[in-house]
Amino acid sequence: MIMSGASVKVSGLAKSFGRGLILKDLDLNLKPGESLALVGASGCGKTTILKILAGLCPYDRGEVKLEPSDLVPSFVSQDLGLYPWKTVWENLELPLVLAGRDKKARNTKVKTIQADMGLEGLDGRYPHELSGGQKQRVALGRALIVNPSVLLLDEPFSALDALTRESLGLHLASLWSGLGLTMILATHSIEEAVFLGQTIAVLGGCPTEVTAVFRNPGPKTPAFLTDRLFLDLVRKVRLALAVTGGQKTETWEKSGRV
């Protein structure tokens, strides 16, 4: 599976729902193959940002640019969006069916993604017959099957137990580094954000803006989860979220720009 990431440039993004301004002058800038974790309180607009990037939600002002523009982003929603009436195989195959790919190409691709995601032997199962981790793998597999340029993940592991979260986080990190795709994830989990994001953007304020940014140069390996740098970053992000209550401050090590 060979993929290549796109660069993502968001500038001056603003979005309101009714009379309430949710996002104001949001800037994001990612080079191809980078990963960004958005972390913030519930309702701060993380999902809205991802939906705008996926082209699923209109915005009021600003610019969203993916380069090259013909590449497609794949979005995995918080509820995973698996169709209960489709089996694992059919859910995985669906993006290829919609793209008009022939049966032979679809079979080859689905088998490859099943092997990558550890989903062999589950072809005929329906989503309700899967564990939380297996569902998550199917949703990720379905997002990756079209060779996306950008992978957008909304609270990817929120419904999972701690052990499954960690194992899937490691799996995702190895997929991301192997595939070289650009990844943006929104999460409540500070540990998840710090582990998976090369850049961690803390969102806060009303309307939402980036209140602090942290860079994570650490490797995405199991050993990093106990590394001093990892624990230190977790502490800093937690402090940024807790102390400011999401309010922008000038004391953070980076300005509010990603």
């Binding site: 996926a54 082209g55 979005f75 509820d79 969006g81 169709y83 009436w85 919609l98 309700h128 017959e129």
Partner: protein, 254 residues
């Protein structure tokens, strides 16, 4: 165990019937044994088969027409809000009206042939399927459509996208509700068919029952009622089988 409980349930109903027959007298309510004997006798007569097959054909045609028209209309009303705004007031104004009231109108408009009976069954089934299908699309989790939009490649080809949305989301999402509506409607369909066949015709189980009633042949009348019940039951079983075949994710969940 389930089969044993079923046998107990049927035997209890027959016992109650027999008890009522003894209490009321065989002239008013024949015993299940005498009705059973007569029913078996009827089964060997081509005359009875003819009536049974006529009713079965009318009911099947009505159910098929009702289903084929109501299901896509339900999808359209559920999918297009503007269309729904125009059609739903009409739907909900006419929904509570007993469909049997349309029979005289249909007889005047379509004559005394097969058409008014088939249309009456189709209208009865169609209303129930239409309401349920429309509601199942309106109440569809918004995430399903959003996921589909995310999976659809590109922004163009709106017609192809719409058809694919029906095929991969609306159709399977509405199937379990439509199957439930069909099960419920199967009983109602047979009831209205009885009314439609009770006059202005000489074919069908409705006519058979009314004729036997007129001749005070209660055993034959009850044989006809039993046959009509079996017809409704057959539709119920067929709807169940269709649901199991078309919605395996539901039957495996249950």
């Amino acid at each position: 165990m389930a089969g044993f409980r079923g046998i107990i349930s049927v035997l209890s109903a027959l016992g109650l019937w027999h008890l009522m027959s003894v209490l009321l007298g065989g002239q008013i309510l024949p015993s299940p044994l005498s009705v059973g004997r007569d029913f078996i006798l009827c089964l060997s007569q081509p005359y009875f088969y003819g009536h049974f097959l006529t009713s079965a054909r009318r009911a099947a045609a009505g159910v098929a027409v009702g289903l084929l028209l109501a299901t896509p209309l339900g999808w359209l009303m559920g999918s297009f809000k503007k269309l729904d705004l125009y059609l739903s007031p009409l739907l909900f104004m006419t929904y509570p009206v007993p469909k049997i009231l349309f029979l005289p109108v249909l007889l005047v408009m379509l004559g005394l042939g097969e058409a008014p009976k088939v249309v009456l069954v189709a209208v009865t089934v169609g209303y129930q399927v239409l309401v349920v299908t429309r509601d199942s699309i309106i109440n569809l989790e918004p995430g399903y459509v959003e996921t589909f939009n995310g999976l659809w490649p590109g922004r163009r080809r709106k017609l192809r996208k719409g058809l694919a949305l029906v095929r991969h989301v609306f159709w399977p999402a509405s199937l379990p509700s439509a199957a439930t509506a069909l099960r419920l409607a199967s009983g109602t369909a047979v009831s209205v068919l009885f009314m439609a066949e009770s006059f202005a015709t000489e074919r069908g189980l409705g006519f058979f029952i009314v004729e036997a009633w007129g001749n005070l042949d209660l055993n034959r009348m009850f044989s006809g009622i039993l046959a009509m019940g079996l017809l409704g039951g057959a539709f119920y079983v067929l709807a169940n089988m269709a649901e199991r075949k078309l919605c395996p994710w539901v039957s495996r969940k249950n």
